[in-house]
Subunit: 422 residues, 2 copies
Amino acid sequence: MKAVVIATGDELVRGVHTDTNSGLIARRLATLSIECERFVVLGDDEEALSAELLRCVQLGRLAIVSGGLGPTLDDVTRAAFARACAVPLERHAECEARLRALLEARGREYTASNARQADVPRGARVLPNERGTADGFAMQMGAALLVALPGPPRELQPMLDEQVLPLAREHLQARGIAVPVVCDAVFRLSGLPEARFADLCGDWMERGRNPLVGVTASMGVLTATLRARGADEAEAQRLLVAQVTAFVERFRSWIWTEQDEELESALARELLEKNLTVALAESCTGGMVSARLTKVPGISRVYLRGWTTYSNQAKVDELGVPPALVEAHGAVSSPVAAAMARGACDRAGTRLGLSITGIAGPDGGTPTKPVGLVWLGLCVDGVVTTHERRYLALGRDFVREFATRDGLHLLLQATKGLGVNG
Amino acid sequence: MKAVVIATGDELVRGVHTDTNSGLIARRLATLSIECERFVVLGDDEEALSAELLRCVQLGRLAIVSGGLGPTLDDVTRAAFARACAVPLERHAECEARLRALLEARGREYTASNARQADVPRGARVLPNERGTADGFAMQMGAALLVALPGPPRELQPMLDEQVLPLAREHLQARGIAVPVVCDAVFRLSGLPEARFADLCGDWMERGRNPLVGVTASMGVLTATLRARGADEAEAQRLLVAQVTAFVERFRSWIWTEQDEELESALARELLEKNLTVALAESCTGGMVSARLTKVPGISRVYLRGWTTYSNQAKVDELGVPPALVEAHGAVSSPVAAAMARGACDRAGTRLGLSITGIAGPDGGTPTKPVGLVWLGLCVDGVVTTHERRYLALGRDFVREFATRDGLHLLLQATKGLGVNG
């Protein structure tokens, strides 16, 4: 069974907002081995939507529509479903009762506009929305299954997982289509270009393979998904475990987490579990490592302080970098990075310290120190190492993002090598 | 004339990547008063794409396709166009010469796969791509105009502006359709909820009005676009100027820039123009203000240093906050915010200083100091003011984002009130 995913809203076809619901729906449907044939984005246009739905009925598709279930006249999804299925809209008593109670609890009046939200096409199965006023609904039309969901992702996502996927599974099973059980494992890797990853995978990434390895790349971080399908949970798990074992063996040196988590989360987990304190001294990244690390709740237990030492004088005053060192080697150099990292540790009294100093551009580059040159300093229990990076000069943001990633990554590698702090 | 915007790629319909090209294309087409009827996202499926194109030919639409112009077999856009227009693909000599030269310059071999990129449907007009290997092309089919563009936004965007929009304009004019001249003005506002903005606009936002005011909201910042249409440049400008005058009069106290720019860019411009130096002392925002400000090239001339003083001890050591103050009022308090801002100015020797201390959550809140409470301190030439904010506790990221925005905003307001530093 193939799916068509439809998003509605004038703001979408005018390019004011971007449709992210359809991608989410596609990723969830993949867990039932349902492929999406197309996404369609329409304005608030009843005729266009009903025509699209009718096409889905004729082709026996699963159609999932997001949006257009609000109380105003430009919310046309209910009417479009009724037209496509040639049934009238009917006031649904349970919907109405739920809606009245919800609005009352919020101290708002129940108006005629609101009442429109309790209209559903005759024969539809209502999908209650626990997080908003717009209930969804589903219509079975022969081989086709048509579903309407509210647009806001925080309402749509739980309804999709808790109601639509089970319904789609039932629909497939009732039609004698085997629905495999899908089990996933996710890894994140650094230090490996996507193309080299694909080469190393060999046939693991070949279309139709089971288990199948997929990968996406973002700012030098690879997210690899291992997906196994089985007739039952036991078979899927068995296949997945075998693939995970082989995958870890092959990619061990690049994997930094066996979860779908950000670098700062993995680092924070290590720091907190091992009770290791850290200080940060940033120049070209201007606080980006600090901002990333402080995204993680509870980090204040181990991240005590950080400096953005943008000027040379700040490096001297705040971190105790000897002025002669800056003069002799320049601010972007191994000795200055080392002195910054050591100074941060010393001043903050932490076991770990990280420094970053570089030329983010667009100006400030020289033939020997081009834009993209960054030195990172890492201090672990008083022992300092420095690390040179020469990033492609693809813009200031790019250099800063990559330097931030590498800084977090250096700290993560260091914490992995340390035991729990007594 | 209505448009259909089509994006192709298996990664898109699998939800791995999100299509942002179509929204960009829609926004650009709006400058010619061309509305988008629908977006369609397809996999790498020649048959589905040619069917969609054929439909556009039959309905006399402008169709713009992004993606599927690469050298591999799953790049099906060229073949789909040829099929929909019932013409053969032909090797295009100029395309081929350009491609050979480009690959040679990059030290890469010209292969049979590459040669596929020089195939275009017979009768198509080639749209040269100066930033990549995939040229685009356009086919006129009666009232319809079909355009193929490469998928990468940095290649697509200039081709759209420099080649496709003029072509679409020509196409409309040749068919006797008046193409209005569009003039835009953009403002950014803070401190005003979107609904209140709409109320204050009255009929300025009504569909079909000329000039028309539109608005989008993101993290409490409103971006308002004023768009005027005229038969010629002079008329459009005259309409726009009148609307801008009325708009500025009504919204003066909330407007912080008359450009489509980020808060940090507006602030950096003021600081650099007036040669005003600044220091930052952040607690709950953990370096986010610093990271935002250092996005702007050249900021090192005026932003000298910053601190992330996450622990109480750091506030005492680095910024000279009296320990008794922290003990008496707590770290999240007006007196501590004031002392942090003053301390940052004093230590860095700057004219301006900003501090932020708050409870971002999810833990750490109390009945008197709930999650979402943030104190901001502003020091201007030794005079300190403090500012309390109670943000909705919609999550740690939310509180931190809003505090960052308000910190930048306070600094911007302060710099606007200051003259050029002698």
